[in-house]
Amino acid sequence: MELENKLASKLQPTFFKKHQEAIYKSLEDKHTTVEVYEDDPLATHMVLNMGPQHPATHGVLRVILELDGEKIVKNKLDIGYLHRGIEKIAENKTYQEFMPYTDRTDYLSPYSNNVALCTAVEKIADIEVPERAQYIRMIGCELARISSHLLWLGTMVMDAGAVSFFIWTFREREKLYDIFDNFGGHRFTISHSRIGGVANDLTPDTVKMIKDWVVNFKKELVGWNKFLNKNRIFFDRNKDIGTITAEEGINIGLSGPNLRATGIAYDLRKIDPYCKYDEVDFEVPTRLEGDNLARYYCRMEEMTQSLRIIEQCFDKMKKGPIRANNAKQTYPSKDEVYYSMEGMIHDFMMTDTGVCPPAGMECYHAIEAPKGELGYYIQSDGTGHPWRLEIRSPSFANLQALEYILDGEMVADTVVLIGGLDPVMGDSDK
């Protein structure tokens, strides 16, 4: 792979030589959409690494930029710095054992990952989930969506310059941590949902905690909207940069708030509703411009919609079991395990082999995670371990769009653009 003399002389890789040469070669071969005067004697292109360790890349994302002054002529993304191969691990774990790993993929909203895996396994193993468990899952998913958008908001506005905003959003997020701590056991990577239902019930004081928080957070949101929506600096910083048209967005495979910002109301909670999303009414916020500001508006309105969903869930939730009591498919409840022989045997069998979907069956189930469409494709071979478990991670597809929108932008805009797309590297690198 010999490089053109322009770059070959400058490159002295000390590690991963073949990898570095391959990526710099593909950077050179990439045709640029920016009109650059080649014959301009003063045109000096600098290749810069906005590398894996950078405050603005929200994790370990490496963007190689070819700059002409402040303008990006060409850019190339290099991901995989957080790749640990959980699909390979999934093939050696039972479905329930694999669930804590899903907490650590999209670690900004762990609850919705758990629900994604459990609903996929329930679909393939045909398990009926009791109603109360579905409502608890919806409340958990919406709280996770708000907590993920909170961290997105805090870091994106901090990247644009308002550092105090990070402290406000994190104060709200700490309250959410307390709620999750109360009903799930851990601050944010709670593995709370089980195959066939949820681990434990909502105690009355957790319900009160959530309701107080929802009332208080609504006032906070109104304050933030007033502060940011008309803010001149934030407005100019995000207007008309990284614009994606609707066709381009669909063609690149965007999903979630980034796609809804281009005008397509593709929301899985409306298209094929899982849990009880069809009995709860909420709107899907969309925008038309498709630039960074539109993504900001979409996510802010999504937070208000999530609050509405949580309130409606509390009204519709009735007393009832929180886990299906079919011993072959779900964990028996703890008191059954302690006081009955069959319960203990079922508990042991569930931990040992786990739920066994029919052999040769393969199916796909996707939920609307805060970042986009998060889907699990499971191929089962009849044992407790999946033969193949594919995770359709939304950040992986959203990051692909970053390469298209960065060409021709200014260097300073990359910071806000990465914040606007909100990729999570644990999710995209699998």
Partner: protein
């Protein structure tokens, strides 16, 4: 140092030692090598509730040139290990390293091909924090251990 002989054996260095170590331990600027979910807990550790600026290390410097304590938060893959080692080499010298979380300390729950089983395979780690992710007060506890280490073990004599 030439001053040493003038003032008698050990008098100066103990006084200067305590002064320098006191200054260094109360201004440990962390270099947040935030990789995965532990990075979110590290943000909470610097956030409003578990405010770490009470301990003097509120300034989260992202450039290795201005930081003393590298907190490796999250699982470190083979591909990322070279970048972490490069950042560690480029930090100025009185530097310490904390492996935050089970994944950084021993590879944690990720027993697979991509993850280096423990950051101490290529980094001199001073403090390990268990937990997945550890609560912010556990990270503050590790920071206090690093501060004790600075106060007791490090002497200016070693530096020249």
């Amino acid at each position: 140092m030439g001053l040493e002989s003038a003032l008698g054996e050990g008098f100066l260095t103990t006084r200067v030692d305590s002064l320098v170590n006191w200054a260094r331990s109360n201004a440990v600027w962390p270099m947040p090598m935030g990789l995965a979910c532990c990075a979110i807990e590290m943000m909470a550790f610097a956030g409003p509730k578990y405010d770490v600026s009470r301990f003097g290390s509120e300034v989260f410097r992202f450039s290795p040139r201005q930081s003393d304590l590298m907190i490796v938060a999250g699982w470190c893959t083979y591909k990322m290990s070279h970048a972490i080692r490069r950042i560690w080499d480029q930090m100025p010298d009185p530097k310490w390293c904390v492996a935050m979380g089970a994944c950084a300390s021993t590879g944690g729950m990720h027993r697979c091909y991509g993850v280096v089983q423990g950051v101490d395979n290529f980094l001199p780690v001073d403090a390990y924090i268990s937990g997945c992710p550890p609560r912010p007060d556990a990270v503050i506890n590790a920071l206090m251990k690093i501060q004790d280490k600075i106060k007791t073990e490090h002497s200016v004599l070693l530096d020249t």
